[in-house]
């Protein structure tokens, strides 16, 4: 009986409520407010899914798929032969090549891609030069792209150097040789690049020279022989950064 009284009291209190008129009027006001204050696009919208700072690799891959579907695979393929100044050149450098880099999963693969792209830039410059179309602006543009690939290469090389194993030393030697060979084959056009902006050619020459002095023939290295590995470490070029 006593419990029922509390329950009865609760039921009576619950009858305190809005009248129908108050409720519908308030809803009308709120509805007007909601119409004026529409939702703000979320930062986690589909657009931000392609935000480079969030998911660069996936963004490039998915963007390329979209462009490929839209333009057809032939456009991407055609861009492969394009040169600076051509309509399809941006597709090559901003879509096809980043995809290639994104697909490289190990430092070794990435270093190879950087060498390949640096080599491509030099080849493009040579082709334009032969055709008499290597203007100062194009020269500057290609030089800038080339510089970024070389910087990228040395950064990756440093990552490989940090590994303390015979296989990484072997990898490093081979990668370095590949890089030098490619650069040597484009010596003439390399000299034509604008070196004043960052002195990159001087950096390359300095690092190539040091690496040549420090490379120990593979047969002398033995991961089981600690002294050989220590010797390599002591003579290895230490990057300033």
């Amino acid at each position: 009986m006593k419990e029922i009284n509390i329950q009865k009291g609760i039921e009576q209190l619950k009858k305190v409520s809005l009248t129908n008129e108050e409720k519908s009027k308030m809803l009308h006001n709120l509805s007007l407010y909601a119409d004026v204050h529409q939702p703000i696009p979320s930062t986690h919208s589909l657009f931000s899914f392609f935000n480079i700072s969030l998911n660069r690799k996936l963004a490039y891959v998915l963007t390329s798929i979209m462009i490929t579907i839209t333009l057809g695979g032939s456009a991407v393929y055609a861009s492969e032969q394009s040169l600076p100044g051509d309509l399809l050149y941006p597709i090559k450098t901003k879509i096809a090549e980043p995809i290639k880099m994104a697909m490289a999963t190990t430092p070794k693969e990435k270093a190879k891609v950087e060498i390949e792209l640096a080599d491509k830039r030099l080849s493009e410059a040579e082709t334009l030069d032969k055709r008499g179309k290597l203007t100062p602006n194009l020269n500057k543009e290609i030089s800038k792209k080339f510089d970024s690939h070389v910087s990228g290469f040395y950064k990756i090389k440093k990552q490989i150097e940090k590994k303390d194993s015979t296989s990484s030393i072997e990898e490093n030697n081979k990668i370095q040789k590949d890089f030098e060979n490619k650069m040597d084959s484009h010596a003439e056009i390399l000299n034509r690049f604008n070196r004043d902006s960052n002195g990159l050619e001087k950096t390359i020459k300095k690092e190539v020279k040091k690496d040549r002095e420090n490379i120990i023939p593979i047969k002398q290295l033995d991961s089981r022989n600690a002294s050989s590995v220590d010797l390599y470490k002591r003579t290895q070029f230490q990057s300033e950064d």
Binding site: K2, E3, N5, I6, K8, G9, I10, E11, Q12, L13, K14, K15, V16, S17, L18, E22, K23, M26, L27, N29, L30, S31, Y33, A34, H37, Q38, P39, I40, P41, S42, T43, H44
Partner: protein, 169 residues
């Protein structure tokens, strides 16, 4: 999103209004605060914020608006200046502040019950009201009042024991 908003409005507007009424005992002010509560709730939804418990959020907004209402109304008095932090924090759990008399139309048992709830120790009042009049669970009450679930459960248990004692029920 607007559908969800309207659904929740229809479901909770009476509860929110009732809560405001029992906190303020002034119909016009309670109507204003109820409307503003849902306005602010819409703003939260429009910003795309992730809301885990809509009911708890709406009541938290209402509670905060009521606290702001009382703070604005408080005159600068010696009593207010000498209020300690402890007194102020306990006041936030009372059902109705100061010596305000209820001006709410309700029947005998309802009037009696509410008069007894406000006789409870201050820290129990809102908890008992939200639990037994609005039917909220300890988790929701804890979120609204900003206290732990354990403390809420303990206060519910002690509060109802105290209420039974003072009501004679």
């Amino acid at each position: 999103m607007k559908d969800k908003f309207i659904l929740l409005y229809n479901k909770l507007s009476d509860s929110v209004f009732r809560y405001c009424m029992f906190r303020i005992s002034d119909r016009d002010t309670a109507l204003d605060i109820t409307q503003e509560t849902f306005t602010k709730y819409w703003d939260v939804l429009a910003e795309g914020q992730n809301v885990k418990n809509d009911k708890a959020l709406i009541f938290t907004i209402a509670r905060n608006l009521i606290i702001d209402y009382y703070r604005k109304k408080k005159s600068v008095s010696l009593e207010a200046l000498t209020e300690t932090d402890d007194e102020e924090s306990v006041e936030e759990f009372v059902l109705i502040e100061g010596n305000k008399k209820y001006d709410i139309e309700t029947e005998t048992e309802g009037r009696f019950l509410i008069s007894k709830i406000i006789e409870l120790p201050k820290s129990y009042q809102q908890i008992i009201y939200l639990r037994y009049v609005e039917g909220m669970n300890p988790d929701e009450i804890a979120k609204i009042l900003g206290i732990s679930i354990n403390a809420t459960s303990v206060k519910i248990h002690r509060g109802i024991a105290e209420l039974k004692k003072i009501t004679g029920y």
